[in-house]
Every structure is written in structure tokens, then in C-alpha cells.
Amino acid sequence: MSKDRRFIFVMILPTVLFISLVIFLPAIRSIIMAFQDYNMYFLTKKFIGFKNFSDAFNDPVFIQATKNTLIWTLLSLALQFVLGFSLALLLRRPFRGRGVYTALVFYPWAVSGFVIGLQWRWMFHGSAGVINDLLLKLGLIQERIAFLSDPSYALYAAIVANVWYGVPFFAIMLLAALQSVPQELYEAAKIDGANAFKQFMNVTIPYVRPVIINTTLIRFIWIVNFPDIIFSMTNGGPAGSSHILSTLLISKVYNEYNYGVASAIGVIIMLILATYAYVYLKINRSEGGF
């Protein structure tokens, strides 16, 4: 091996070792579990083919959870993006105290999902919650809403918390991208007579498009695999109406002690994400990467 190839190999080796041991090895074990009868009652671990998968599909909550996963992810993503982009645009031009401002307004990203779920659970509380209080005071509602006990609201309450959490990520990435647009391009456009709006559409957007594509891609995957907020906020309730696939996975372990079915759901999630990534990248013909 040439000296350079050896260099490359040595630099990559630690990464490969870590992810093989910590991620791929357990993942393979889990995939095997998806085909085993692995629950805490009997621990037989015998292979039962696709039974776990059919058990998962036949669970009435499964269909709801799949629908919810889509709603949860798409709605959170859309709102996070729009609000994040708006915030980035607002921050583009420097102003006094901007450093302090960004340190404060971006902090939600530093909070753990579990804590966010609890904080917002308290704020959305049916009787002692501050959100109900504010809505009442502003005259927007007549009586308190039991957000987390009402199937039509529960998931959306969780989405609100998720948006609060995710806006900083987009804002940071997009702000960096916006600031990277070379000044010369704007000047050239101005010379050509473009107004602010035209400049935005013809210079800014095309330039940040790759960043938008990549951040939304990775963010979609992260949101699907982000059970923490829903778990601590509603635990999938009421009546399983706020379950997404990844929280259903947890429920199968914690409430039904069935690792086999839980792993099957995990495999299903991975397949869905793999398909999504493939399609997304094909459409955008990007090579992935920031």
C-alpha cells in the first residue's frame, strides 16, 4: 500500500471500528431479534419467521402510529423549516447584541428531549397548565382544553414542543448558508436591476438550496427516530392516538415486555427511512453531505 493509502486507512480505521462495534453489531443482533420469540415471559428465543411482523401489523394502534409518524414528521419539519428560515433571515444583518441574542434564542436545542416533554406536559396541563390560562386570558377559548387527554389535540401538542426544539437547528444551518452567499452575486444582480425580492429568489435561494436539501434530509430521519418528547409528554396516549412508530417500539418493550415485536417495528422503521432517503436523493440528485 502506498504511503498515502496507508495514511487514509489509518485515519479512517478508528471511525470504522467504533461504528462497527457500537452501532452495527447491536443492530444486527436486533434484526435477528425481530425474527425471534423474545419476550420476558419465556425467553425461548426460538425463530418464528415473520410472526412478529404480522403481530405488529395487526395491532390496531400500528396503522394509527404510521399515520401519526407522517403527520409528526412532516408537520414538525415544515414548521421548523419555515420558522427557522424566518429567524435566519431576521438575523442576517448584524445588530448590536446579536451574539447574546442568538445565545438565548437558540438554547432550546441544548435541552434534552425527555425534559422538553416534561416541561411542555406541565405547560399543557388540563387544569394547572399555563397555556390554557393564557388562551383563556386572551379570550381565544371559552373553557380549558384537556390537550393531552384529547386524541385530537395530543399529537399536535407534542408537535408544538418539537417545533420549539427544532427551530434553532434550521436557523443555525440556514444562517450560516445565508452568510456564505458572496456579496458579489448580489451586486451583480442589483446592477441588472433586480429588486430585493428578485435578488432573494434568483441569488439567495439557489445558493442555499443544497444546504436546505441536506438539512431537511437528515432532520426528517432524526425526527422519525425521536421518541423522547412524545414518550415523556403523552406516552402515546390517549388511546394510542399520539403514538408514532418509534414510541410504539418503546411501548412494546416497557408495557408488553416483547422485544421480538419491538425489534420488528424497528426493522420496519429502518426500511421506511431507507426508502425515503433513496427517493429523496434520487429526486434531488445530491450526493449527501453538508
Binding site: 387544569s127 384537556a146 387527554s149 390517549p238 388511546a239 418493550v253 408495557n255
Partner: protein, 421 residues
């Protein structure tokens, strides 16, 4: 060289004699306050048993039993652990519990146990797999001040409970009657009301949820009546969001006066007293009976067991004997709020008067308060509990037909029991 060898032997011997043995104890109904108490008791045990140290492991409650089972199944060092009634079968099936029958034969504390304690301890194959430390049986909490203000007596029957709660309900003023439980583990509440309407529940062991006719109770006429009553309690006497209420919300409702009737376990007593501040504001009554003069109660319980692969079985048994002794158990129960296990403890005025009198009534009137065995040890139970909760919530929301749900529950248990009728 020889001298070195002798010294080494001596050191080895001394270390074995005087070296401390460490027992590992795992609790699962973890709470910061209870952990503090346990640690205190364990320190006392260590003081009276030199050479034995006890390490207490307290996993966070939400996943504690899962954690324990994983530890046991991967043969981590565990000597003594908390055995909860609904996990007993799992532990025995996985062969992680030591049969204590031999130890118990030489223990005089066994005869001091109340009958219920002996029954649960020997539930599986007649072998003693654990020593219970306390019982959780439901009773009816009520706000004395609110009932007095509204001239309402303490309900004796389910029908009275419904009527009185309804009288107290005035949604416009934010007042309701009943602290409905619709959230996690709601079955341990709804089934009390529902089953009291069934005339012929079979309370024998291993016949949980079956009537004396050998069929599941859920879609019998009585079962349907009871279910309707539970639904009525929600619609006419409870706040709308109680659909998803858990323990915290129920207790908050009770303490704030919003819902003056509360069905709960005895460990709620110390908490309610602390939050209300004044013991005269509340009282506890035995569970109201159904239309047939009976009410069926399950006897939730937990205790201590020894891991089958423990290397220190004798020392572990010493620890369990210590914790199960009447004095220590009484101290533990008083703090925990659970009902103690020894007959001598019930002679204590603490349990014979005041709020605990209600449970004393329940324990000593078997014609009205019938203890039956909920089938928590059957593999299908966790799935049933989830389904029952979801179905009830959907019934209350008007999204599911009551009769359909009852039939599905009955079919579920027909399958579990292998009944073909």
C-alpha cells in the same frame, strides 16, 4: 518461602472470615423518599450483622422492572430483589427466584403472617417464592368537609356513589364528584365498579375474570351493567380530561376539592394527609358494594425474593427475615402506606383506628369484600390491560360500541383460558 506461604494462607483465612460479604439488593417501586428509608433500614441491618454489607440499587421507576428482569436474565450480581405481584410469574418462569420453603420452615415469623400474605407467597406451585411486605387494596377516599357542606352521607353502594357524586357535579363551577381514572392501569379501578355488578364471580386462584359458570364476566349481563355504570360515572360525575387521568391527576383533583370521591390504595394516605395539611378534611370508607351486596377486590402486593443464582443465599435470607420482622415491617408499612403483613401489626391502634380502619373492615368482612385473583400472571395480561384502557377511552369518546368492546374482552380471555364454549 515457606513462611511467605503460611502468611499468605493466614491472610486468606482472615479475609474470608472477616472480609465483608456484600449483598446486592434491587428495589423497583422506586421513589427518592422510599430509597432514603430503605437505606436507613439497611444501615441498621448492617450494624446488627457485622460482616455483611448491603448495596442498594434503585433504578428509576418507569423502567425499573424491565431493568431488573434484564439484570436477572443476564445473571448480574443480584441477591435480594423486589418481587411485584404481576411479575412473579415472569421471575419464576425464567427460573430467577429461589424457593424459600426450606428457609421458611425454620422461621417463626411465618405463622404471624396474615392469611392473605401466606396465600400470595405460595401462589405458584405452592412453593414460597417471596415474602410479601405489604398489600395494596383499594378503598374509597372522601372529602369530609365537602360532603358535610352538601349534606351528603358516605355511600355504601355503587348506586349511591353514583348518585351522590352526580349531586356534587356542577361543571359550570368547575366542581365534579368523582376522580375518574382513565389513564394508565385504569383497569384496576374500572373493574372494581364493573365486576361488582356481576353476581357470580369466581374468586378461586387461577380463575381470574371467570364466573362460576366458567366464562369470562365481561359480556355477561352483569358485566354490561357494570360497564354502563362506569361510563355513567365518567359522563355525569367527572371532569372531561379525567379520560386520561393517572394517579397524579386523581390525587390533585381530590386534594384541590374538585373531585371529592377518590378510589385509591392505602399508600395514598400519607400523601393526601401531607397535601391537605389537616387530617379532618378527609376520611376513608370501605369500598361501596354492588347491587348484589358484594364487591370484588384484588390484592396488589409486593415483597422480597432471593435470586436463584445468588452466592449468598443464607445472608440474603437474613436480610429478608430482618425486613419481614413485625417491627421493621410495621415501620416500613407506615411510611409506605401499604397494609402490613403480620397479624400483630394490626393490633397497633394506628391500623385499627383512623383512615386505616376502612381497610381493616375490608380485611375482616369476607362476605361483603371478596378477594379475587386478578390474572396478572397470565402471559396475555399486559396486552389485555393496554387494550382495555384504549377501548374504554374510545367508548367514552363515543368511538367504540360498548357491547362490541365487552365481547372482544370476553373473547380475549376465552382464548387465554382455552375455553371453547
Amino acid at each position: 518461602m515457606r513462611r511467605l506461604f503460611l502468611i499468605a494462607c493466614l491472610v486468606f483465612v482472615m479475609v474470608s472470615i472477616f472480609g465483608a460479604i456484600t449483598l446486592t439488593m434491587v428495589e423497583t417501586i422506586t421513589s427518592p423518599a422510599r430509597t432514603e428509608l430503605l437505606r436507613q433500614l439497611l444501615d441498621e441491618f448492617e450494624a446488627t450483622h457485622p460482616g455483611i454489607k448491603v448495596e442498594l440499587i434503585s433504578p428509576p421507576y418507569e423502567s425499573s422492572d424491565q431493568k431488573l428482569i434484564m439484570m436477572l436474565n443476564t445473571k448480574q450480581k443480584v441477591d435480594v430483589f423486589e418481587v411485584r405481584d404481576n411479575f412473579l410469574a415472569i421471575h419464576v418462569n425464567n427460573k430467577n427466584l429461589l424457593d424459600l420453603s426450606e428457609f421458611v420452615r425454620d422461621w417463626d415469623g411465618w405463622n404471624d403472617l396474615i392469611d392473605l400474605a401466606k396465600t400470595v407467597a405460595t401462589k405458584i406451585e405452592g412453593k414460597v417464592y417471596y415474602i410479601p411486605y405489604g398489600f395494596f387494596i383499594k378503598a374509597l377516599f372522601y372529602r369530609k368537609d365537602i360532603l358535610e357542606k352538601n349534606n351528603i352521607p358516605v355511600p355504601q353502594t355503587m348506586q349511591e356513589l353514583y348518585e351522590y357524586a352526580k349531586k356534587l357535579t356542577n361543571p359550570a363551577e368547575g366542581k365534579y364528584g368523582f376522580a375518574f381514572r382513565g389513564g394508565p392501569s385504569e383497569h384496576s379501578f374500572s373493574e372494581i365498579v364493573i365486576m361488582s355488578h356481576v353476581p357470580n364471580i369466581d374468586p378461586s386462584p387461577n380463575r381470574g375474570y371467570l364466573t362460576t359458570d366458567g366464562v369470562p364476566y365481561h359480556d355477561t349481563p352483569g358485566g354490561i351493567e357494570g360497564l354502563k355504570m362506569w361510563v355513567k360515572l365518567y359522563h355525569d360525575c367527572s371532569p372531561k380530561d379525567s379520560l386520561n387521568w393517572g394517579w397524579a391527576e386523581q390525587v390533585n383533583g381530590f386534594v384541590s376539592g374538585m373531585t371529592p370521591f377518590l378510589i385509591q390504595d392505602p399508600d395514598t394516605v400519607p400523601i393526601v394527609e401531607r397535601r391537605l395539611g389537616d387530617p379532618n378534611l378527609y376520611g376513608v370508607a370501605p369500598m361501596p358494594v354492588g347491587p348484589y351486596g358484594k364487591v370484588y377486590l384484588d390484592y396488589g402486593n409486593a415483597g422480597w425474593g432471593i435470586a436463584s443464582y445468588s452466592k449468598y443465599k443464607k445472608e440474603a435470607w437474613e436480610l429478608i427475615k430482618f425486613l419481614s420482622s413485625p417491627e421493621v415491617n410495621a415501620r416500613f408499612s407506615k411510611f409506605n402506606g401499604s397494609l402490613p403483613i403480620s397479624k400483630s401489626a394490626f393490633a397497633d391502634p394506628y391500623y385499627a383506628t383512623g383512615p386505616y380502619r376502612a381497610w381493616y373492615e375490608e380485611l375482616t368482612n369476607p362476605d361483603k369484600y371478596v378477594f379475587y385473583e386478578r390474572p396478572v400472571h397470565m402471559p396475555g395480561f399486559p396486552a389485555y390491560a393496554e387494550k382495555h384502557k384504549n377501548d374504554i377511552q374510545n367508548i367514552l369518546l363515543g368511538k367504540k360500541d360498548l357491547y362490541q368492546a365487552a365481547k372482544e374482552w370476553a373473547d380475549f380471555w376465552r382464548k387465554e383460558y382455552g375455553i371453547t364454549k
